[in-house]
């Protein structure tokens, strides 16, 4: 009996060590040199319970909101936590993960992701999951049927070493140094573009109405996001940043109805700052995303909105202040160096 217990214990320890080793090699071999990895990995490095506002959403969100500028203007701390083409079900798990480390007062969800109808590629799913730490939340995420992962996908998502093992030939100092912790993300999730590529479509895109439907699963997971926020006494706000290509009146109305039913604030900057956005200058890809000039306008608008609707106290934590001051300084330096656009395309 004693021997049997010993064998079971040894075997269990063996399995645990094996899993830990796979996780270690996964951490070493995951590519860490892309912008998205910095967003997710950098989020873990934020000081515990230091963020006042958490922005969630797809690329239209993290290309439009500048947390460093919000800090400078309003004095509240925030982070733009998102991923390209992200779906609401991915945001739900991302929020669960975020709440392990942060207790934001407000969660702002950019709603473009509720209508994403193009393919949610494996690469884009991996841009979140690969960089999340191994935990029950990550396991639940991988298991969630909404993602439609095959068994092989699930194995390689749980232990990315199965996918990235061929990188053993290109391991560098960064891979080793960032295995147990990444440097802070000085952009706080914002990804900037200084390119200008004008939107050439109708300027009254919000008046052109067409059928708009929430994605399959969207409402379910938005409700789940709403539920966690309620449970954690976090104010949830819905936001739509300007987007000439992907947004329209019907989508706006659908979100309005959803927000009204759940008594959630909804700010649609497509109508609120319609005249403020110059679609010839403020987009980097013909109206899908905003560039730095558009992002600054959105951030200023949000800054005023937050001033009017939320009373967020400025932190007194010196470490957090230093971190956000540094983020603003770096942003400002980069912004100044790009004062005049490198290339202006005219219509």
């Amino acid at each position: 009996m004693k021997n049997r217990r010993k064998s079971i214990l040894a075997f269990t320890s063996f399995i645990v060590i094996f899993a830990l080793l796979l996780n270690l090699f996964s951490m070493i071999l995951i590519p860490k040199d892309n912008k998205m990895s910095k967003t997710i990995r950098g989020f873990y490095e934020e000081k515990k319970n230091s963020l006042d506002v958490l922005f969630l959403g797809d690329s239209s969100m993290y290309r439009s909101i500048i947390p460093a500028k919000l800090w400078k203007e309003n004095g509240f701390t925030s982070y733009a936590l998102g991923a390209p083409s992200v779906r609401t079900y991915a945001l739900y798990y991302l929020l669960e993960e975020a709440l392990k480390m942060q207790k934001p007062k407000v969660v702002v969800m950019e709603v473009n992701c509720a209508f994403n109808d193009h393919k949610y590629s494996m690469g884009n799913k991996r841009k979140i999951i690969d960089h999340m730490k191994l935990s029950m939340n990550k396991i639940n995420m991988i298991q969630d049927a909404a993602f439609q992962f095959s068994l092989t996908d699930k194995i390689s998502l749980l232990f990315p070493v199965f996918l990235y093992h061929n990188r053993y030939n290109e391991i560098n100092a960064v891979d080793i140094a960032e295995t147990f912790g990444s440097p802070m993300n000085d952009t706080k999730g914002f990804i900037s573009s200084y390119k200008q590529k004008p939107y050439k479509g109708k300027t009254n895109y919000m008046r052109a109405s067409s059928q708009a439907m929430f994605d399959a699963n969207s409402k379910k997971y938005m409700d789940m996001i709403h539920d966690i926020c309620k449970k954690n006494h976090i104010k949830l706000m819905l936001l739509k940043v300007p987007g000439a290509k992907e947004w329209n009146q019907s989508k706006k109305e659908a979100v309005e109805l959803y927000a009204k039913e759940r008594h959630l604030p909804y700010l649609d900057l497509n109508t609120n700052m319609e005249k403020n956005i110059d679609w010839r200058r403020d987009t980097n890809d013909s109206g899908v995303h905003l560039n730095i000039f558009g992002a600054e306008k959105v951030t200023m608008e949000l800054s005023q909105y937050f001033r009017r609707h939320y009373r967020l106290k400025k932190t007194t934590d010196q470490e957090v202040i230093t971190s956000f001051n540094k983020a603003y300084r770096l942003f400002n330096e980069k912004r100044k160096s790009y004062k005049r656009p490198v290339k202006t395309v005219t219509i």
Partner: protein
Amino acid sequence: MSLISLPFMLLVTASCVLYYLAPKQWRWCILLLANVIFYVAASQALIIFLIGSILSVYIGGLAINKQIKLQKATIKSLEKDQKKAYKAMMKKRKQLILIVVLAINIGILCYLKYYGFFAGNLNAINALLHVNVNIAVKKFVLPLGISYYTLMAISYMVDVYRGKYEASPQLGKVALYLSFFPQMTEGPISRFDQLADQLYAGNEFDIIKFKSGLYLILWGLFKKLVIADRAALYVNPVFSGMHGGFTAFLAVALYTLQIYAEFSGAMDIVRGIGYLFGVHMEKNFEQPFFSKSIAEFWRRWHRTLGTWLKDYVFYSISLSKMNMNLNRSVKKHMKGNFGRFILSAFPLFFVWFFNGFWHGASWKYIVYGLYYYLIMMMGLLLAPVFTKIKDTWHLHEQRKGYRLFCILRTVLIVFGGMLIFRAHSLDDALQMLLRIFTMQETDILAHGLTLVDFGILIWGLVLMFIIAGLKERRVNLFALFDQKSLLLRYGIILIIGVSIIVFGIYGHGYQASDFIYGEF
């Protein structure tokens, strides 16, 4: 469904769990079900050919059984003169059944595998003779494992015919024997009397066999994914290009090691799976690179094919009337070494011809088989000269230096064989051989393998040869391993397991390589 694919591993796991959960008398049904699932997944409708083989040997075997029983029952009541005639008649009957069944099985194999080869060669002959007949050269998709299960079907029929054992009255047993799923891809070419009872018995769970099975599978995966497929990263581009010198020589050497690591690795996986079900299967390799001669090499390399050729080609031809007549004539007219040479040369020619031809429908493979035949025949013919040289130079066979020389000589000859085997054509093989000696090329890091890869490859090869060396010294590795402390055992398993996952050549970024012997 490759031996190293996830669906295959899941099939093994599921069938293993169900096997031990099922009542003993139904366990063979679980195996048969797993065989069907595996075969349908791999070859879909082509299972019809396997079913055809199973039914033909089952019915044929029973028919021979019936003749044997009838002969036994009748012969007692016959007079001495009648007995001889009756025996001859019964032998012819049995022969007829045997020929029909063999014709069905060999016919299917020849039609599917060799039709294109025969048609192409007949067209070439017609063109030479200016005969205006052109046969369409067709290529068929081969049912998985046809080269293996056909040889097993032949061995079953011939053994029943020779009276080695009785044909099985249980169709399930014959079906299990011919279709046991782990061995369908690369063999081994098992024998009915070694395998069938084990498959049909409903084995009890044996922890020692089970653990041995897991160790073998792990080691097989290491050899395939870490060593063989890494060597292939260098071998494939070099054989596809116009390389020479040391670069090409290394490709030949690495291909030899690749095919060994891959084929023996596959056999480890297959035998390991067998052990999970409590089934012991024949070894196909016995440290071939420790051989001191080519004959010894072939006793250690692909052993189940070698013994099959010995039992069913060599003996059949040796005992044929034509060979008997030749024997008598040679013994009468030729004495000494040359006589012995002639006596061996005739049946061995067929053995090596079939060895080559079995590997593929191409002249390249026939030449591959005959290359070894020529080497062996030369060795036999020149044996007195070699003995004289050894005596003159006082070379003692037991001396380490001489043994090492013999091993190196054998390895170099094997390299020659592997060059023919791997090259795209005979002409390519010859050109590459010439380039090895005439070109100066040493840039080994420019062909798919980095320095790190070479490091991993060398580490894998060293490990493989240490284990082979221990086996050569008759060390029982399983027993030795099990005697070690739990910590050491788990530590070794962790190192091998993690090495396979991290350094294995699989998945994204690599082209998955099929098993070379899975194509035959």
